[in-house]
Amino acid sequence: MGKTMAEKILARAAGVKEASPGDLLDVFPHVAMSHENAGLVIKSFKEIGTGKLYDPDRIVIIFDHRVPAESEKTAEGHKTVREFVKKYGIKHFFDINTGICHQVLPEKGFCRPGEVLVGTDSHTTTHGAFGVFSTGIGATEMAAVWATGKLWLMVPETIKIVVKGKFAPGVYAKDLILYIIGRLRADGADYKAIEFFGPAIDEMSIASRMVLTNLSMEAGAKAAMIPPDQKTIEYVKSVTDRPFEAIRPDPDARYCQTLEIDLGTLTPQIAYPHAVDNVKPLAELAGTPIHQALLGSCTNGRLEDLEEGAKQLRGRRVHPDVRMLVIPASWQVYRQALDKGLIAAYIDAGAVVLNPGCGPCLGAHQGLLAAGERCISSTNRNFQGRMGSTQAEVFLASPAAVVASAVAGRITLPEVK
C-alpha cells in the first residue's frame, strides 16, 4: 500500500522502515524552532538538568512576538535568551531585527523538503509548504527536544485536498483556505495531516502556498503539506546549500478524506467574530464600519501581499476614521517593499508601518483595539480578546480586502480593474 508524506517523512526521521496512522514513533526533528518562548524552554531545560544540548545546530531562535520589547518584563526575557544563546553556542539566533519566525525560517534555509521541523508556535504548520513535516509543540516538550533530540509523535491520518480551476480577479489563497476552514470546521483536521494537490496548487507562488499551510492550523491540522515540485526545489536551493531529499506521497497513498474544490465559483471570503470557521462570502458583510485595518502577519505579510494591497490604494488615502497598520513579515520583505516603493505608497496613504513581527495579531504588542472597535485583518485568528478588548471584533480577509476596506472605512470587496 502506498504512503502519505506524513507516513514517509516521520518514518525516516524515526529511523524505521515504514509507518502507518496510529503508530507512535520517537522522531528526531531536524529543526527545533522557538521565539520569545525560548525563555520558557530554557527554564524547563535547566530543570531537566542534563546541562547539555543534544545538538545546538538544530536549534533556531527567532524573536518576533514582542519586538522591540514593549515592557521591562519582555526585555528581561529577551536578555535571558540572548545570554543562553551565547553561553551554549546556539548560532541560529535571530534578534528583533529579523522578522516573523514563519517567514524567517524559509528565508534562512531552514525549511528543507523531507525533514521534520518542530516549533513552539501553533502556526509551525506553515513550513509544510516546502514539503516539511512541520508541527507545533509546547515549550516544555521543546526543552525535552533540546536535551534528548527527540519527541514522540503519533503518525496522523491525512486529508487530501485537490484544488482545480483558476482564481477569479480579487480572489486569493486566503479566500481559498478560509473557505476550506469553513467546510472542515475548526477541528476538522484535529490530529490529522493535510496534503494539497491540483493544478491550482501547482500554479501558486511559494508565498500563496504558505498561506494555505499556515492557516491549515485553524482547521486543527497537525501538519499541512504541499508535495515538493520544481518551484519548491528551486526556492530551497536558492537559500541553502544543505542537501535534502524531497519526499512525495505515493500515488496509491491512503487518505481518510478527500475534498475537491473548484476555484471557478470561489468569491472573496471573510471569517467573522469570534471563530476562524465562521466563514461567509465577504459580500454579505460589506458595508460594516471598521476602525482598524491590519496588513501583515505570518499568514499574509509577504511581498506579494503588500503588492496586492498597494494595488487597492490607487493613490487614495486611508479613510479618516480608520487606523491602518502595515507590518512586513520580515526585514527581507521590508527591504524589498522599500525598493519597490510599496512602503512609500502606504505611508503616503496614511498607514503606519511597524517593525516586522507578530505585532497586534495576538494582542501582545502594539496596535490593540478598544471595546466596541472592529478590525479587518489579514492575520489568522479572530478569537475574543485576541487583539485587545474582549468587546472588540476581528474580521479575517485577504490583503486586498483589508486595504480596500481601509480606504472605504467599511468592509469592502477588493476592487478589480
Binding site: I48, D121, G138, Q384
Partner: protein
Amino acid sequence: MKFCGTVFKYGNDVNTDVIFPGRYLKVWEPAEMAKYAMEDIDKDFAKKVKKGDIIVAGKYFGCGSSREQAATCLKAAGVSVVIAESFARIFYRNAINLGLPIMVCPEITKIVEAGHQLEVEPTTGEVKNLTTGQTARAKVLPPFILEILSDGGLIPHLQKKLKKAS
C-alpha cells in the same frame, strides 16, 4: 490517582486565547499565571476556583495557540483534571507534559452541570457525578502517558529516567 472536585463547565471550542490571554504571555511564574486563568471567558474563575476543582467542556478544548501557559495556569490555579468531549492536539500534549491530567469523555457535558461534585478515576476512566449519581466512562490514557502524569509531568519524568540511566 482519583480526583474529586467542584465542576466549572464551559462549551465547545474554548481556545487558548481565552484560557490565557496573549497580553500575559510575558509572565513566566505559574503562581502569577494562575491569576489570569480563563480571564477572557470567565472573569471570576481565578477567584472562585479551589484546589482539586474540575473543568468540564465540550469539544475541541484548548484550540488555537501552542502556548503551554494555558495548561500551566489551570494547574497552578488548582484544577485537578480537565474532562472534555475532545481536545486540540497541542493543548493535549502540553497538559500531559505539564502534569495536568486530561480525559476525553464524549458524554461528559450531558451528565454534568456547573457546581456539581464530580469523581474521576483516570486509570479506569470511571466518571461519577456525586450530585446526581449519574456515571460515564472516559477513554483510558495509554500507560506511557499515565506514567508521565504520575511522575508529575515530562520534566520530572525525564529527571527520573536520567537518574536511572546514570
